[in-house]
């Protein structure tokens, strides 16, 4: 493993909102360079630092995970819904307008808009939470999604988080967030993920 690969492996486990993420990388590199300059072997240096996952967990343990009130999450979801609707609506409109028949079919338009927005929101949320740990709404409300250990979520976890949307049981799933200690949805508990306040305080 090279120095770059090691540092990348550590950072890759940390959510993007991890405070001083760049500083961590710079410090690790400086430490490795310092030891290399003193004639130590790279393998020994990396062994001293430990496995990337363990090191990432040690860093992430310093960041408190503050549960988010359900109302905040609802607001974030509402914000996410806006842009998706703005993209989906014109496309569906154009599609429905091409259906032959007398006049514009508003019922079909509404049904398709609802269905396509749901799928669009689900895809956008899943992809965005996996790649950046947050969506537009979560970013605006200062929230992000992490594993229960604080690590960045995996692709599989982001998929499991979206299952209730696809299974049309979102409201039942979201109901759990009102009563669980950490305000977790049922599928969040299943995927071992949490939505927490993003501690972005850079020092």
């Amino acid at each position: 493993m090279t120095v770059d690969q090691y540092i990348h492996a550590v950072l890759d486990l940390m959510p993007q909102a991890t405070p001083n993420r760049d500083q961590i990388a710079r410090e690790l590199r400086a430490n490795i360079d310092e030891r290399l300059a003193r004639g130590e072997q790279l393998l020994d240096i990396l062994a001293q630092l430990g496995k990337p996952a363990r090191l990432a967990d040690e860093y992430l343990a310093a960041i408190p995970m503050v549960a988010v009130p359900t109302s905040e999450r609802f607001l974030a979801k509402l914000i996410d819904f806006g842009p998706v609707l703005l993209i989906v609506m014109p496309l569906v409109y154009l599609g429905v307008a091409k259906i032959p028949g007398p006049g514009f079919n508003w019922i079909v338009f509404c049904a398709f808009t609802f269905a396509c927005s749901g799928v669009g929101l689900c895809l956008y949320t899943g992809f965005s939470e996996f790649s950046t740990s947050r969506t537009l709404g979560k970013w605006m409300r200062g929230l992000h999604v992490v594993q229960e250990s604080g690590r960045r979520i995996t692709f599989a976890q982001s998929l499991v988080r979206q299952l209730p949307f696809l299974m049309s049981i979102y409201f039942i799933d979201a109901f759990f967030a009102l009563f669980t200690d950490r305000h977790q949805r049922a599928f969040e508990m299943l995927s071992k993920t949490r939505v927490v306040v993003a501690s972005t305080q850079e020092i």
Binding site: P19, N20, Q23, I24, R26, E27, L28, A30, N31, D33, E34, R35, A37, R38, I45, Q48, L49, G50, R54, L55, E58, Y59, A61, A62, I63, Q201, I203
Partner: protein
């Protein structure tokens, strides 16, 4: 696993937990003498304890990160024209207060343990 392996693991675990619990105190104490960078802190600890206490980089840096986030230390980077850049850590006033608090806690605990163990030994 054999019983001896079990007891060795237990002993290592106690050492690890003791070290982990006192690591912030150790680092704050080492920084009380003046600013230092990561490698220097590790070397100082080994030298001042004749190797009895050692800490790996993988344990030290997350502790420094915690201290920095808690604003118990401030940092500055020094990038020499030749050589590697170094991140220097320095105690803040809050850091000194925390050091005094942790030192008091540690001393109380250590005294209590010493008294307890002495009583145990004398009782036998």
């Amino acid at each position: 696993m054999t019983p001896s392996a079990d007891s060795t693991d237990d002993r290592r675990s106690i050492e690890r937990e003791l070290k982990r619990g006192s690591l912030e105190l150790i680092v704050l104490h080492l920084l009380a003498g003046g600013e230092a960078y990561g490698y220097e802190i590790v070397s100082k600890l080994t030298a001042e304890t004749n190797g009895a206490l050692e800490v790996t980089d993988g344990t030290l840096y997350p502790v420094l990160y915690r201290l920095e986030r808690a604003q118990l230390v401030t940092v500055r980077w020094e990038t020499p024209e030749r050589g590697v850049p170094r991140k220097y850590y320095q105690l803040t006033d809050a850091g000194r207060t925390e050091l005094a608090r942790l030192t008091h806690e540690w001393t109380t605990f250590a005294n209590a343990m010493t008294t307890l163990l002495r009583t145990e030994r004398e009782g036998r």
